[in-house]
Amino acid sequence: MRTLKFILEKEFRQIFRDPAILRVLFIMPLIQLMILPRAADYEVKNIKLSVVDRDHSDYARKLVSKITASGYFQLDHYTASYNEAIAEVEKDKADLVLEIPAAFEKNLVKEDEATLFMAVNAINGVKANLGAAYLRTIIQDFNSQVRTEWIQFPRFSPELNIAVTSSNWFNPSMNYRLFMVPGILVVLVTMVGAFLASLNIVKEKEIGTIEQINVTPIRNYHFILGKLIPFWVLGIIVLSLGMLLARFAYDVIPVGNLLTIYVFAAVYLLAVLGLGLLLSTYTANQQQGMLLSFFMMMVFILLGGLYTSIDSMPEWAQVVTRFNPVAYFVEVMRMVILKGSSLADISRQLLVVGAFAVFLNGWAILSYKKRA
């Protein structure tokens, strides 16, 4: 016990003596948390629209002004030539081309039917999809407006209309910050837990201090606990700071119990620390450690359900996400903060992450040998 206490004392001393590490630990995550949720926005705005108007009628103008008034579209170009509009797309100045054919108004009035043409620049898939969908909705809206203008009687439209109204549960105003902030916080905690810890051990290897430690009667578990505990504590501190920031900067108030989050975080940190430990036993220097961490982090984030929904991934990718601890914590954070889930609700995630912790730490301890 005395040995462990002293090892911990030494680790904390070293961590707090390195100003660069402290900055990375406390200031960087907070800055990221201040910036990222404001920038990483799901909504697509400022879609640049090029309109080819061959009709120049009253209705055409009404339609265009309705589109631009929506706030999602910027009118980039207004022309009578399709080639000119496509040239704008080629120059990457326009994302969407809407062609209003000649006699649009005439057909609409006389035949009760008119067609429009839409061309989408699909280089940015998300923007193209959402842009086209928004535009379609606006045109539909325009359509029903026109209809109500014309058909005064009978009062009730003879055609059947199914109107859909939706309500957003757990996040009524669809405030995306409410689910982005907890997610980003998870990523930050993961980085502190897994990667700082692994780099710390690899640093001892690189400098050669591990050699000096290995010839001492110090026990494996002393050394490993001496590395795990400080970073576990730091992880919890970063999480707490992040939660405070989320509360005061983003008004993210957990619906569920904070304790639930901390119980899960405690187990989760054990799992990611085990991962860090494992990484450190397979890398020889900090450069290797950094590169490996970097690649793993990319996979963790992109397959973690933070930016893209796991349910919309292909089957095989969904299988991969089941082995991603980040995915579980992101899910749990959102469940507890938005929905108010209790420990019983997250027991499955807790068990899985607990199993990760046992497996990863066990593997790491077995492969950490004091001699070659």
Binding site: F6, Q14, T209
Partner: protein, 305 residues
């Protein structure tokens, strides 16, 4: 009981196709309280041998005991009894001198006060800087700190891997003085070094070359075993002199040695004859004298045969 026994130690590195055999069956014994030197050039296998004896590396063949304990089976006990100072400074650079000392004392379940008498001579020299971080110490002070840390648990055997490499000659002398004092305290010391001139400061030396032991003897014994007449030769033009020496039938081997060339002679030789031969070749101010072989001469000789 000898303090260290190595029997036929073999160590290989690498896999399948390119295996490098670093140690080809090394055997020697170091007695209790001995200052035992392992002398050899870079790449001779000194560090591998030390790492095996300090239980950091598993041998691929052979047996070794330290303090009567097997390096493979009883490694836990060995770690309590040996002090190891690696060739590279490997203490915590971001901890202070005192913190490093305390740390190593604690993980050996002892304290600085308990063994202060043992490290006093060395530690007192760096004690004025005890609040300075280890990384900010000068080379000589780092070395003293490393030695203090290796000694703090009163080991019965001390392994020093190239402690004097990269240290100036004054500090080197000082360091050997410290080792002599430690020896008086009854600690067995194994020290490796690439410097031949340090061999004479050891009680016994093992000469190692490419993973093989060339000889194990006292420095005087090594020199006595040389058994061939040796001449130191100097002239105005040293490079042609060396070539001419090598060309002479009476000279078995010639190599540069400080200000002189050393010439190992074959059997009976005549200094005047050699002088005549050299002057015939046009050398001026030829100076020849008989010298006692140095460890380096012995090493060169052993290496070539």
């Amino acid at each position: 009981m000898p303090a260290v026994v190595a029997e036929n130690i073999v160590k290989r590195y690498g896999k399948k196709k390119d295996i490098v055999e670093a140690l080809h069956g090394i055997s020697f014994q170091a007695e209790q309280g001995e200052l035992f030197g392992i002398i050899g050039p870079d790449g001779a296998g000194k560090t591998s041998l030390f790492r095996i004896l300090t239980t950091l590396l598993l041998p691929d063949g052979g047996h070794a005991t330290v303090d009567g304990l097997d390096v493979v089976k009883d490694f836990k006990q060995i770690r309590n009894r040996v002090g190891y100072m690696p060739g590279k400074f490997s203490l915590y650079q971001d901890l202070t001198v005192a913190e490093n000392m305390e740390f190593f004392a604690t993980i050996f379940n002892t304290s600085i006060d308990e063994n202060y008498d043992l490290v006093k001579d060395i530690y007192s020299q760096i004690e004025p800087f005890k609040d300075r971080r280890a990384g900010k110490l000068s080379g000589g002070m780092k070395q003293k700190l490393a030695l203090s840390c290796a000694l703090i648990h009163r080991p019965s055997i001390l392994f020093l891997d190239e402690p004097t490499t990269g240290v100036d000659s004054v500090s080197r002398k000082e360091f050997w003085e410290m080792l002599r004092k430690l020896k008086q305290q009854g600690i067995t010391i194994l020290v490796s070094t690439p410097y031949m001139d340090e061999a004479s400061l050891c009680d016994r030396v093992a000469l190692v070359q490419s993973g093989k032991l060339l000889s194990v003897d006292t420095p005087a014994g090594v020199r006595a075993a040389f058994g061939k007449p040796l001449l130191a030769v100097r002239a105005e033009k040293m490079l042609p002199l060396l070539n001419d020496l090598k060309g002479s039938g009476a000279v078995a081997d010639a190599y540069p040695f400080g200000e002189y060339h050393h010439a190992v002679m074959r059997g009976n030789h005549d200094i005047t004859e050699l002088r005549q031969y050299l002057e015939q070749k046009g050398h001026q101010q030829v100076e020849i004298k008989a010298v006692e072989p140095d460890i380096e001469d012995c090493f060169m000789d052993l290496m070539k045969n």
